[in-house]
């Protein structure tokens, strides 16, 4: 037995040993070093005992209680000694260890005996269920990705899928390059994704091939996993419909490598695995010569398709792999976020890509918005880097262009377009892009631009929501105003120079609310990225509500920072805030309020 690792470990192990002795009425049989070494090293098993358990069979079975070196903080493991071959029973790994708990489960480190008792009971319950047999096929199918992963014979980490996992069986496009093998629905989707991810020079047509997606009625059992090309052909036949014909077509294209994606619905959504069929080759012939025996007896151009299919789909081994999913549904909610479909078909234009607009753009891209138009005429300076998602690499680049490039690379399944112009120019020359948008976000903090935008919005009948976001001094409060068809327009709640009618904080001296660089007219608002985070989240949240149709009337959402923060900087709550929200005196809150409707000049025109 290895050396105990700590007094705590020794005490816990002694408690467990004592409890097992009580249960068995004799001293439990300790495991020798050889028996411990039979378990996977990732468990770091340091000690253990073997106990006999009667499951009502002719002979009892032996269960190993395995104590890791991190015990009692680390979970004990349990192994079944008498078991059928690997992948005959689910939830039993190759070394015999039992899969008892989901990955996010936790144990009480102060009750090692209770933990062992609980998990030993679960081990016995699992073995009883396995002996009963009803769960075997069900769990192999429900959790088929795990068991396929155990049995795959290829895993270079290059295979990536942006396929939508749904019916029917269909042809797909495959990009084969040294750094990535990408499965996509069409050539256009694949090449767009690659351009976004790796830049425009990455795409070479010679790397594009055809593949096949087979939609299986139900997940495969381990015994059904394809071993040879003929097995894949059998699976295609089993799928029925167009699948066999599509497969035959694919073979007739005589590619070097056929990739077949196998998709089926598991317990918690669809999963994808793949089988790659290489061209049959004769290992006895020197490299670089003909791909015999594929063409033996025929000139390569005269090989009948029937013979080609038979030769291609013979007993050559297939490579079983599991693509990494990079499709939008998976990235944005692991296939379980019902908002993703709507968001992916949405277009949002963000006017102003500064310290508010850029984080909002990033948040919306992460939320799954399919297309973002980014508008900003300004360049990123070193002073911006401290509170902007773009860093040093983008200094002296246009903010909109640099942000679009970054987002394209980070979220290659979405579309990002940059407009390096002022808002006024955007309204004048690119209004079609705005018209096509499902939502506009204005984070310009510039009354000239926003008043023009408000006029444009009112003139268009406020057909899409516009979300205006801004901060108060020191980011002591933030505002997100959503203007929709019903309710007031932006100007209804702002003064003639863009000063909001309702402010949360007030500052006794104007000095300190804006600071100035040692240059003429170079003012800026002093706040840091941490305080700003609450406000950009607020604006993003309102934008998301607008996209998901939750805003039926113009509304105003406010974030107020904690009062000590405001007081520390020399500010206080405004009278309006105290009057309207007397119970929120300590701040640190988000509140909703109605946006006023005054039938202002913009509304009435």
């Amino acid at each position: 037995m290895p050396e105990p690792t700590s007094p705590r470990w020794r005490a816990a192990v002694e408690q467990v040993r004592g409890r097992l002795r009580d249960i068995l009425d004799v001293e439990p049989t300790p495991l020798d070093a050889r028996a411990l070494a039979a378990y996977h090293h990732r468990f770091r098993i340091a000690s253990g005992w073997r106990i006999l358990v009667d499951f009502g069979e002719r002979e009892p079975r032996q269960i190993d209680v395995l104590i890791p070196d991190g015990f009692p903080s680390s979970r004990p493991q349990f192994g079944l000694v008498e078991r059928p071959p690997f992948l005959t029973w689910p939830h039993i790994e190759r070394d015999g260890s039992l899969c008892l708990l989901a990955n996010m489960s936790e144990i009480d480190p102060d009750d090692p005996v209770g933990v062992v008792e609980r998990l030993l009971g679960k081990s016995c319950a699992l073995v009883e269920d396995l002996l009963d047999g009803a769960m075997i096929e069900r769990d192999f199918r429900d959790e088929f990705l795990t068991y396929w992963r155990y049995d795959r014979n290829a895993a270079d980490g290059r295979l990536t899928s942006i396929l939508a996992l749904g019916q029917p069986s269909r042809r797909i496009s495959v990009w084969q390059a040294p750094n990535i093998r990408l499965l996509g629905e069409t050539e256009v989707q694949v090449t767009d994704w690659l351009r976004n991810r790796y830049g425009p020079d990455a795409v070479r047509r010679s790397c594009l091939e055809r593949g096949l997606l087979l939609w299986l009625d139900r997940p495969l059992l381990p015994a059904e996993y394809p071993r040879t090309a003929r097995d894949v052909l059998w699976l295609a036949g089993k799928c029925g419909g167009d699948a066999p014909a599509l497969f035959a077509d694919l073979v007739s294209e005589r590619q070097d490598n056929l990739i077949v994606a196998l998709v089926a619905e598991g317990r918690f959504g669809p999963g994808i695995v793949s089988a790659a069929i290489p061209t049959p080759r004769d290992p006895r012939r020197s490299r670089g010569r003909s791909a015999a025996p594929l063409f033996d007896g025929f000139r390569s151009s005269h090989l009948p398709d029937v013979v080609l299919a038979r030769r291609y789909l013979g007993t050559n081994k297939v490579l079983r792999d599991e693509p990494m999913r990079a499709d939008a549904a998976w990235i944005h909610g692991r296939g379980h976020d019902p908002r993703t479909v709507r968001l992916m078909s949405s277009t949002v234009t963000i006017l102003g890509c500064g310290s508010v607009g850029a984080p909002v753009a990033v948040a919306l891209a992460q939320a799954g918005v399919g297309r973002l138009n980014l508008v900003d005429h300004d360049e990123l300076s070193w002073a911006n880097v401290g509170r902007h998602p773009l860093g040093a690499a983008s200094v002296r680049s246009n903010k909109a262009e640099a942000l679009a490039a970054k987002l394209r690379s980070d979220y290659p399944h979405s579309r990002f377009e940059a407009f390096p112009v002022m808002a006024q120019a955007m309204l004048a020359h690119h209004s079609s892009a705005l018209d096509e948008s499902h939502l506009l976000v204005s984070a310009m903090g510039d009354w000239r631009g926003e008043s023009r935008l408000n006029d444009w919005h009112c003139a268009r009948g406020r057909s899409m929501p516009v979300v205006y976001g801004w901060t108060e001094a020191h980011a002591a409060a933030g505002h997100a105003v959503a203007i929709v068809g019903d309710g007031g327009c932006l100007r209804c709640g702002l003064g003639r120079t863009g000063v909001p009618d309702f402010e949360v904080s007030t500052w006794p001296t104007a000095a300190g609310t804006t600071l100035e660089e040692p240059a003429c007219g170079a003012h800026y608002q002093p706040y840091g990225p941490v305080e700003l985070g609450f406000i950009t989240s607020l604006v993003s949240q309102v934008a998301l509500d607008g996209l998901l149709g939750k805003l039926t009337r113009s509304s105003h959402r406010i974030y107020a920072a904690r009062r000590p923060f405001v007081v520390e900087l020399g500010g206080r709550w405004s009278d309006d805030w105290v009057h309207e929200y007397p119970t929120q005196f300590e701040g640190g809150v988000v509140v909703d309020r109605l946006w006023p409707s005054k039938h202002c000049a913009s509304c009435c025109t």
């Binding site: 358990v53 009502g56 002979e59 009750d111 009971g121 679960k122 081990s123």
Partner: protein
Amino acid sequence: MKSDLDLDTLTSPEATFNFHRHEPPLRSIDFAELMPSRSIRMALGSVFADLSGFTAYVDACILTGRIAEMTANLHVIRGELAACARDDFAARKVRFIGDCLHALIAVGTRTATEPAATVDAAVMLTGGLRSSFELCRGMLPGLGMMGIAIGAEYGETPISRIGIRGERSVRCASSKAVSSSEALQSDLTGRQTALGLVALANASAAVRTHFGRGPVEDLDHTQAERLVSPGRNASPARPAAVSSGLLISQGAAASGAVRERGSGRHA
């Protein structure tokens, strides 16, 4: 060419073999159907039973002119051992090699062999063979000094037929398990039975304990049955099996020690 299989076989640069399992019992294996390309491959028990002292008995018979008796005895013993393996234990005789019987046995389903049950069955077969031999020795003349050395091992084994179908074909079951069982019996006396390492590793606790210290002497059918049958193998020094129901109920009582997440599908 009649099928895709034929075409592939003809065009493939390598020979094509399709192994399959035979659903136990192995008694029903038909070697005539096992051409190399359709061989069986499965985990099973391989048993070698070699008549010990037979060469000396043959020499003595030649010297004393009892060749007819010797020939008759050999045929009777062969027939009895083969019948014992086939009829009493549903095993499959591969062939006799002189005075040595090679037999295969397995317990399980169409999809999987049960290792412990197969080793138990192999132990029962070894006991049965010894009892049968003892019966022969009691009834046949001149066998007083002879014994039977029996070795058994467990492992994946291909079973096939080499050569054309019929009398001239050679039955073939060749694997590490077969080699080990043959090597085991060659080191034994006529009273001993031994299990190989793989068989021991897969054996039930009672069998493993009994054979763990080396070859066992005079293990006949009665002793083998006592060893393998439930209820008779509990040793006072060995911890008794605890009921799974008890452990499950104790585990349920300690549920507060583990916070489970997810579906809880696992057990």
